[in-house]
Every structure is written in C-alpha cells, then in structure tokens.
C-alpha cells in the first residue's frame, strides 16, 4: 500500500463521514459546516486525481459561494441555534432502506461492468489546454456553451432578483 492509496482512503473516509454528518446532524448550521467539509474533501479528491483546476473551481464556487450563501439563508430563515426535529422512524427507515438498496444495486452494476481503464495516455488537463478548448470555435470546442453559460448566469441573476425582490415590494406597499 503506497502513500497515494492511503491518501485516497483517508480522503474517501473523510468525505463520507462528513457527508453522513451533514445529512444527519440536527443543528442546521453544523450541517452546513459538515457539508462544507465534505465539499472540501471532494476538492481534495480532485487534487488527488491530478485535477487541480477542478479542485480550485470546486473550492471557489462551493466553499466561497454556495456555502456562504447557504449560511446566509440559514440566518434569514431559521433559528440557527435550535435543533431540527428528529426525523420520525417511519421516515428514516424507508429512506435508509431505499438508499441502501439503491446503493447495493448500483455497486452491483459497477462491479460487473468492468471498465477498461485507459492507462497508456498521459492525462494532462492543464489550464492551458482547457482554455484552448474552451475558446475553440471548431470541432470539440466549447465556445458556444461558454457563451450560453453567460446567458444562463444572466437568467439566474435576473431570476434571483425578480424572485427575491417580489415580496419586498408587496411588503412595502
């Protein structure tokens, strides 16, 4: 077992443990923090997979953005100190079972699929190549999605503003 393997298992365990905590903690703020750690763990996994760019994107967007936003919305809508109600057994049990069976099923599929790993070619996702392909107008270029993303973001932004400002107006009237 070399260092890299140990590292992988550590990261995996870390992701899973924090993930489980994130969905089971009853304090909502803590839940957000656990989610955050889980997401950082995933970023670490990307580092481990030699995808630093994706890892950084993960951290920038998730940690710097989404989690902060989630925390803000927790403050806006919750009493953050309260414990959330304990989910009733009639609810946890079926969900746990469903998740478990889904898990077993999928694992089964993965186990039996037998992926052929392509080990010959060096995987080299430098930012440079990503950028080149991003701006490429030709075959396999992502210039169109790139521009479409801006439309998407525009739409999201306008949507947010419209939704978030709506009630505000009504309140003031």
């Amino acid at each position: 077992m070399d260092a890299s393997t140990i590292l992988f298992y550590t990261i995996a365990a870390y992701i899973l443990v924090t993930g489980v905590l994130a969905v089971t903690t009853r304090k909502i703020f803590r839940s957000a923090i656990w989610l955050l750690f889980s997401l950082i763990g995933i970023a670490a996994l990307y580092f481990w997979m030699d995808l630093p760019f994706i890892a950084a994107v993960q951290i920038v967007v998730y940690v710097g953005g989404i989690v902060v936003l989630i925390i803000f919305s927790i403050f806006l809508t919750q009493k953050s100190g309260d414990q959330m109600p304990k989910p009733i057994l009639g609810r946890t049990l079926p969900s746990a079972l469903a998740s478990f069976f889904g898990f077993v099923f999928t694992i089964n599929l993965i186990w039996h699929h037998g992926f052929i790993e392509n080990k010959g070619i060096l995987f080299d996702p430098t930012v440079d190549s990503i950028g080149m392909q991003l701006l490429n107008t030709g075959e396999g270029g992502y210039i169109l999605p790139f521009e479409v993303v801006s439309m998407l973001l525009l739409a999201a932004m306008v949507g947010c503003i419209v939704i978030a400002m709506k009630v505000k107006k009504e309140e003031t009237i």
Partner: protein
C-alpha cells in the same frame, strides 16, 4: 513535492495551533465563577440568544456574487490563453461579459444592489 506539501502544511498548522492551545491548557490555571461563562455584552446580561432568525440585509449581494464568482471561474482559463488566441478571445470575452453586465445593470436598476 506536490500534494505532500499540502498535507505537511496542514499538519504544521494543526500542530502549531493545537500545541499552543495545549501549552496554554497545561501552564495556566483559571478561576471559575458563574458569570465568566456568560456571553459578553458590554457588561450587561445578554437578552436572548443571537441564534435566532436574523435579517441579513445583504444576502442579495451574496446571490449576485455567486453568479459573478462562476463567471470568474470561466475567465481563468480564458485569461491564460487570451494572448495566444488573440483578438478572437477579446471578442468572445466581450460578448460574455456584456451579457452578464446586462444582468448587473438590471440589478442596479432594480435596486438589488442597494441595502435592503
């Protein structure tokens, strides 16, 4: 040294902080009194807890920030190759930014960037 260095630094930070706190724990003895553990609020007993619902006047900024943050993410790969690609890159980014800037202007107009 790659990711090893990250682990090293992380461990170093933990060792440093934990070490300091441990030293503090072993070398000092504190006194206890009933008021010590209470929240500090200018010397007056605190009323209620802050852990309640709280109006964050600036959450809209955070919403808009998130959008721009994603935009920024896309601009890193662009920036790296912009010089190589040449004018084309400039046009593409102008389109990209322009579209987003519309949203920005919209936000301004709607007063979303004012304090709520």
């Amino acid at each position: 040294m790659g990711s090893g260095s990250l682990i090293t630094l992380m461990l170093a930070a933990i060792a440093f902080s934990a070490g300091g706190i441990a030293v503090a724990k072993f070398l000092t003895k504190g006194s206890t009194n009933p008021q010590k553990g209470q929240a500090y609020e200018c010397g007056i007993p605190s009323e209620g807890t802050p852990w309640k619902q709280f109006h964050v006047g600036y959450y809209l900024f955070a919403l808009i920030f998130l959008i721009f943050d994603v935009e920024l993410v896309f601009m890193y790969p662009w920036a790296v190759v912009a010089k190589k690609v040449g004018m084309m890159a400039l046009f593409e980014i102008i389109v990209f930014i322009f579209i987003l800037f519309m949203g920005f202007l919209y936000a301004h107009k709607k007063g979303a960037l004012k304090w709520m």
